[in-house]
Symmetry: C2
Subunit: 427 residues, 2 copies
């Protein structure tokens, strides 16, 4: 008992110290020149490559532990690094290095009748906490994105990938030091004690400005319900694809298969297909046939099953399930109005797509759905920071505060006002 209390105190002290160090590091970071940050990022990429053997050895340890612990094949796949994946990690850091530096950018400026000139200028947020699970590449991506946006970061990776994360983190530190930036700019929580997460959720005495959870539903839900600081979270990607009566059917078939089946485990994968009742049964049966041929299970309402008997009957819970698997729920709707009713009832506000040629349908779809990303005649799988040209993303936010959609370097910033006068006083 006493030992537990002491351990708890130790984690609390440790995390408080990490918070203080991060806040101290955030100040020089906020005013670091773009060149210095770019140099650090490029040095990090080189260090990742140079330390490849060391990172792979650390990763083998994590993988061996995972096998012993009976980790699922999918999780093992996410955890495992090889030379190609390490090259990707380095490449991703270089892509972030090459992005325009957001800090100091004038977002807006205007003059007032009294001669004051007002500028709204991008600034860092301060200290960002990233809580993630087994993917070791998040260590590098999150560290690099936070550095580029001038923020100090506290990384808390999963215990499953602890060795890999530590090895990658060492390379990041090497890059920071090569460029003369404080090593506390990117800190990795050195304990896998879950109490560390609890401490981060309290905000580390005001030294943590925002938390980004990246992982499964239960992690994100815990962070969202317990955090005393703002959270950029995405809970679910229950994405819809609506095929309107005006759609180009060949295009619709291609998009449906891609939106569902390209990768079924990502948040931008389509989970529900809504088909306009105006589409001929033979046509939508052909579309569903494509999905079945691609290995997808189709769960549908009776009016679909009667035309396409390969489908199994859908239940109410199918409209609220993010399968993240080769399963799709299908419903016929009465045109765009019916699609809007369904989506506005069941959407997780992540991503929805419409295939249609009628511009009025597209406009209603774009205006009347409140989701982070809406696509016309394109696959939902484009819901991704890289695909948006943001270089990389730390996640996709489904909330509406501050960040929404892919969270890239710009979304990791705040702003301030600079006002230039020549002696103005307020009357």
């Amino acid at each position: 008992m006493l030992e537990r209390v002491e351990a708890k105190t130790t984690v609390a002290d440790l995390m408080a110290e990490i918070g203080r160090k991060a806040r101290v590091a955030a100040q020089p970071l906020a005013i670091a020149s773009p060149d210095k940050k770019t140099a650090a990022l490029n040095a990090m990429a080189r260090a990742i490559e140079r330390r490849q053997a060391e990172i792979l050895a650390a990763n083998r340890e994590d993988v061996a532990n995972g096998v012993t612990a009976g980790m699922s094949t999918a999780m093992l796949d996410r955890l495992t690094l090889d030379e190609k994946r390490i090259a990707c990690i380095a490449e991703s850091i270089r892509t972030i290095a090459a992005l325009p530096d957001p800090i100091g950018t004038v977002i807006a400026e205007w003059d007032r009748p009294n001669g004051l000139h007002i500028e709204r200028v991008r600034t860092p947020l301060g200290v960002i906490g990233v809580i993630y699970e087994s993917r070791p590449n998040v260590t590098a991506d999150a560290g690099a994105l936070c550095l580029k946006s001038g923020n100090a970061v506290i990384l808390r990776g999963g215990s499953d990938s602890a060795h890999s994360s530590r090895a990658i983190h060492a390379a990041l530190i090497e890059g920071l030091e090569a460029a003369g930036l404080p090593r506390d700019a990117i800190q990795l929580v050195p304990t896998t004690d879950r109490a560390a997460v609890g401490e981060m959720l309290t905000g580390l005495d005001g030294n943590l400005d925002v938390i980004i959870p990246r992982g499964g539903k239960s992690l994100v839900a815990r962070v969202q319900s317990e955090a005393r600081v703002p959270v950029f979270a995405h809970l679910e990607g229950l994405c819809h694809l609506y095929i309107d009566g005006s759609a180009d059917l060949a295009m619709a078939r291609k998009i449906a298969v891609n939106a569902k089946m390209r990768r079924t485990g990502i948040c931008g994968a389509a989970e529900t297909l809504l088909i306009d009742r105006a589409i001929a049964p033979a046509d939508f049966a052909a579309l569903l046939g494509d999905l079945s041929a691609a290995g997808c299970e189709v769960r549908a309402e009776a009016d679909v099953v009667s035309v396409y008997p390969a489908a199994t009957p859908a239940r109410e819970e199918d409209w609220t399930t993010e399968y993240l698997d080769a399963i799709i729920s299908v419903r016929l709707v009465d045109g765009i109005g019916g699609a809007l009713d369904h989506i506005n009832r069941y959407s997780s506000h992540h991503t929805e797509a419409v295939v249609a040629e009628d511009p009025k349908v597209v406009e209603r779809f774009f205006n009347e759905i409140d989701s982070a990303i809406l696509l016309h005649n394109a696959s939902t799988q484009f819901a991704d920071g890289g695909e948006f040209g943001m270089g990389a993303e730390i996640g996709i936010a489904t909330g509406k505060m501050h960040a929404r959609g892919p969270v890239g370097v710009e979304q990791l910033t705040s702003f301030k006002y600079r006002v230039r006068g020549n002696g103005q006083t307020r009357p």
Copy 2:
């Protein structure tokens, strides 16, 4: 005891119902045309004017209650309406009506190599809760700003101004109905039971997206510590004015008196004056003489008091006190470096100003201070949404998430992405 429980349940039910109604109203509001919202706002302004006698009568009731309750003169002044103030309320609504409609504005757009065209478009936040104290004009300002930005709003005014707020609210509803917008777009909590605030802080079952507290420190602190939804709060305006050795002294004297004394009770009033040690004692004594002549008490460190004996000695707590009164704390510092050290230690991150002719000093001041508003050669009292050209403000946010500085219609919005393709699938 049983009665209390029942009363609590009733307030909980009432607030839950208000939340549901707000969510329902938010949907047509989000897609209401700019013209419809403008028409509603102009109708509200007319209704305020037409109902002047009724509003004044209601206000007399509040004022009489305030007098009986022994309300302070300052609070009574804030509470009391007259014909001129009612004209101001109507005018303020018209100013908001005339602002450009933020909703649907394309904030950014770009093309991707694969032909996708991406637009980032402004959207409403959803449902906003405003919790305020005795100023009845907040009812109109908050209602109008939320409507302009396409948000439903739940207003919870102080019990001191309950009658006035109800009368003003009736005029707002008249405007909504005249334009065919849902009356639930602007709801005023009909009970002064404090449990209603507690219900709002829990987020009304997910039906409240953000809370804006507008009032004294204790209200804001309670909202910030208890709210389970995002809060746009400003806790303190501990604003600094730094006079650099390179300053135009005549300008510095004018700005110092204005920054402190124009209105001492507003958050943009200067509370601490930092003077570069390079300035000749006779010069800074003249500046302090101006402040004394204007009726300001000067609290200073010993090296100032020795030159300017009218000053009283400052204590440590003077550097952390937002006086909101005719008092200023004064300290000599070693140039811009000393000013930055002091400000970065004591600032509330609201507003700071520098008077200087040396551009290097100005650049350091602008870059190395992390406050919402930084001014050069201008009074801190310009920290105001109206002065920034935002038409009106619902408050000044000192946090860095989402909104920062004056919170006007643009700050009450979120965004979504609209992506247009022609059949793109992700490889």
